[in-house]
């Protein structure tokens, strides 16, 4: 068990009448790449600012690298932040921006310059020292933002939607760069984003927040295949949700009677339900296969087909009225002669159905 470097215990933060963060608890292991995802207003940025020490919790405890942040001023936090809109100082050169934190630590000018140059090299901006920040492109600005934080050699790097203001090709490139930097530096990255694919591609662990509350903490794989509740199943993953009652308990979970037939579902992140309890079952769109002849299958009519470059999504409505999403390839569609209005047979991977908490 690796020592947690960041720990939140029952943290509450209010902004006037709004509770931005409500009884949030989690811990982050040293060296991990953890993302906090959620829509705007989910409390993810406030949570990051609490870790950064820019705001202080109203209740509960935030511990970063062994320090209770309650007694730490914003300028004593030692957890540099990379900002969505860069927030580079416009009156300073690129090198002076990068060296700002070193100057605050009273490092002498010569070492400052040397370290700043090395940090700029590390983010691929060697030779940009004397440029004015106003002349840089968005991607270059964010690299300066990264260098400005990394030059302090922090144990924790905080990133607030760092790719949010970049155009898609630049964002993809920066995403690869971030992954490489994390592997190279071995420090903890805490990454806030509303972009779930981005978080899945980068993170060891994802914390899902909505309206100030944590819904699930899981690996990207678990998040996709074992959603804990309806919110995660619907807004983070792409799942069909089927209501039912528990017929019997099994080793892995339960057999659930639903209008679409009896489904053997796996217990995910929620507690074991009782027999006869009302539950909901989530089935991920990526686990749905258009059926070959012979396999036990459900049938439904195709409602929509949306293709984007070879891969797409189909929605199928069963007779019971459940709407299934299915990830399909162009080949699948050609093989089954699928088109909107046709009836089609489909099945899912045996361990795909997951019991989710029914609220």
């Amino acid at each position: 068990m690796v020592e947690p470097i960041i720990e939140l215990r029952d943290v509450v933060k209010r902004h006037g009448a709004i509770t931005a963060v409500c009884r949030v608890s989690f811990s982050i292991e040293a060296g991990a790449f953890v993302s906090i995802i959620g829509s705007s207003g989910s409390g993810k940025t406030t949570t990051l600012r609490l870790i950064a020490g820019l705001e202080h919790a109203d209740e509960g405890q935030v511990v970063v690298a062994g320090r209770d942040m309650r007694n730490v001023a914003p300028w004593e936090s030692e957890t540099p932040l990379v900002w969505q809109n860069f927030v580079l100082f416009p009156h300073l050169s690129v090198a002076d921006n990068v060296a700002f934190g070193l100057r605050m630590r009273r490092m002498d000018a010569k070492s400052r310059r040397r370290k700043a140059e090395r940090a700029l090299d590390a983010v691929g901006l060697g030779g940009f020292q004397n440029r004015s920040v106003g002349t840089l492109s968005g991607g270059q600005m964010q690299r300066v933002g990264l260098a400005r934080a990394l030059v302090l050699e922090p144990r924790v790097l905080l990133l607030d939607e760092p790719l949010g203001a970049l155009d898609p090709p630049t964002a993809r490139q920066m995403q690869t760069e971030l992954k490489r930097l994390h592997a190279e530096l071995g420090i903890t990255f805490v990454y806030v984003t509303h972009n779930q694919p981005e978080a899945s591609a980068l993170s060891d662990q994802i914390i899902v927040m909505d309206q100030g509350v944590v819904h699930q903490i899981a690996t990207p794989y678990e998040l996709e295949h074992r959603p804990r509740d309806r919110f995660v199943a619907r807004f983070v993953g792409d799942n069909a949700i089927i209501e039912g009652t528990v017929l019997s308990l099994t080793a892995k979970g339960a057999l659930v009677r639903t209008p679409d037939g009896d489904i053997a579902a796996v217990r995910g992140d929620c507690r074991i339900p009782d027999v006869d309890a009302k539950v909901a079952v989530a089935i991920a769109a990526s686990a749905i296969r258009l059926s070959e002849a012979g396999a036990p299958a459900l049938s439904g009519s195709i409602e929509t087909i949306e293709m984007t470059s070879g891969i797409g999504r189909m929605t199928i409505k069963t007779r019971a009225g459940t709407l299934f999403g299915a990830v399909v390839t162009r080949r699948d569609i050609e093989q089954c002669n699928a088109c909107v209005g046709h009836t089609i047979q489909f099945r899912w991977a045996d361990d795909a159905p997951t019991i989710i908490s029914n609220n």
């Binding site: 957890t79 932040l81 700002f100």
Partner: protein, 267 residues
């Protein structure tokens, strides 16, 4: 029709400008006239009135005005900038009332303000000195400085300060190293504009300056005794000085705004 509207507007604008600037033009013109009286026709070109400016009383008045303008605009800029920072970065009870309170002095008729100030300064034993003029001019011009700096601060993202803190700058260091450089043009503009106002101000100075007359008061006193075209010469010099201050302030303020807007576009 559209075209006609445009040219009508242009003629109107030109007429307005002529109407406003004709007196200045005539002032400058008659400063070079040989005659003592500013009447048409022009009597002949002369530098006589500029030469006659070289007298001790006028110089001491100019010096007084300069001292008052420098001191009051420095103090007004500091007070205005500090209030502006407070207003734009902190929330507190009755903030709007406080802003209204700050902006009140220039809304009081000058003559009323002058009388009240004279009465007050006499009570506290500060009347009839240059210091009293400085105090009054600070009161009159600090709202102007406040307005200018506040406008600039509203364009400076508070996140710049958060970023500075995050990198280890204390509150004061963040103000010194990040906020001040970003609002510097507005500070200079505020300094120049308040200086121009103080340099020209007559009413209050006439009431409270006592024997230490400033330039506008000197001119007034001179006119009481005799009509001299020297006033045109002084007016010309003074006008050139004030106009330079105001133009410099505007150039600084708007150039900085334009360049910041460009930067924001990049971000």
């Amino acid at each position: 029709m559209h075209r006609f509207g445009h040219s009508a507007l242009a003629i109107y604008a030109a007429a307005a400008l002529v109407f406003i600037y004709a007196p200045f033009f005539l002032l400058v013109l008659f400063a070079f006239n040989t005659s003592r009286f500013p009447y048409w026709p022009f009597q002949g070109f002369s530098l006589h009135w500029f030469q006659s400016m070289a007298n001790g009383a006028l110089f001491s008045a100019v010096l007084n005005s300069l001292l008052v303008a420098l001191a009051s605009s420095f103090i007004a800029t500091v007070i205005g900038a500090m209030s502006a920072y407070c207003i734009s970065r902190f929330n507190f009870n009755a903030k709007n009332a406080y802003v209204a309170f700050i902006l009140l002095p220039p809304c009081v008729p000058l003559i009323v303000l002058a009388l009240i100030l004279l009465a007050f300064l006499r009570q506290v034993g500060l009347a009839n000195s240059l210091g009293s003029v400085v105090i009054c001019h600070v009161l009159l011009t600090s709202p102007l400085a406040f307005g200018l700096v506040r406008l600039r601060l509203s364009q400076v993202d508070p996140e710049f300060e958060s970023a500075a803190w995050n990198l280890g700058a204390s509150r004061w260091v963040a103000i010194r190293d990040v906020v001040l450089p970003l609002i510097l043009p507005s500070l200079v503009a505020a300094f120049l504009l308040t200086m121009a106002v103080s340099w020209d101000e007559f009413t209050i100075a006439w009431f409270v300056s006592g024997a230490n007359v400033t330039l506008p008061v000197f001119l007034w006193n001179m006119f009481q005794g005799q009509v001299s075209a020297m006033v045109n010469a002084i007016g010309t010099v003074s006008f050139v000085g004030s106009a330079t201050l105001v133009l410099a302030a505007e150039a600084l303020f708007f150039r900085q705004r334009a360049s910041t807007d460009r930067r924001i576009d990049h971000g």
